[in-house]
Each structure stands twice: as C-alpha cells, then as structure tokens.
Symmetry: C2
Subunit: 83 residues, 2 copies
C-alpha cells in the first residue's frame, strides 16, 4: 500500500529564527501590524510504499531523524494518509 | 482575538523540484527505496490579531499573496486556530 506523508520541520521554540524575524519585520513594514511571531520551517511531502501504516510510520520517522531534520535545531511532526 | 496560522507553501505540481529530487535520491542511496516523490516546500506559522476569523483569514491570505508565496512557482494553503 502507498501512503502520503506530510512532514513539518520547524526551528525549536527555544531558538532564534532569523528568517522568521525578517519575515515578521517585512510584513509589519508592509502594514500588517497585526502579524507577529512568524516562524519559518520546511514542509516535506513524500510517498512511501509499505504493507502497514506502522511500517510507513517507521520509515518516515527514521528518514526525518537521519536526513531531513537536524534535531539539535529543529523539531518535526508528520501525518500519513493512505493514497 | 488571536489566531495561529499554519501555512504550507509548496512548489507547483507541474514544476520540477530539484531540492525534492535531491532528497529522494539521498534517501534511496541510504537504503530507503520505498520512498519516492519527495517535494520540499515551506511551513510558516504566525500569530494574527483580529476580531473575526474572516478578518484573520483575509490578513493571512494577503500576506501569502504579497510576500510569502511566489504564485508563479508555488501554491499555498493555510489553516487557522484560535489561541
């Protein structure tokens, strides 16, 4: 079976996020003063072939830990849907 | 009232995504041969102050169109939650 994984990787809450800060300032200078606390991370989608949902979860989790996310600076979460 | 917006910005389906292709190949070389069709986009969170959910939706939608997403190459979607 094939699953679609939707992965969100965000900078850890405790860390500064210079890109998010730049976007916040840019938006405020454009007049969007009601926007604050912008944080910028990555959104990754992929298709995973696996017999079980647990198997697909394990593959996505491992790929996040080993390649996609830098756990020192980032946190990740993901959801799976059968396609 | 304050809303938290969760915005996903992805490369358009019709376009090549070189970063996603590189990640696909990287994962396959690491032995994750069941993963394919990786696409890499941005995940942006922000806090928006607005009296109504419709108002917050309008602000987020405008900021995506004017600054965050490049509509020629990307599509965006977002959800709002009251915080």
């Amino acid at each position: 079976m094939k699953y679609k994984a939707n992965i969100q990787i965000m900078p850890q809450a405790a860390l500064l996020d210079p890109q998010g800060k730049a976007v916040t300032q840019g938006l405020q200078q454009m007049g969007y003063t009601s926007i604050e606390q912008v944080r910028v991370g990555k959104n990754i989608t992929m298709e995973v072939e696996s017999d079980t949902e647990a198997g697909a979860t394990a593959i996505v989790d491992e790929s996040c830990k080993k390649l996609l996310a830098n756990l020192i600076m980032e946190t990740y979460s993901f959801s799976l849907t059968l396609i």
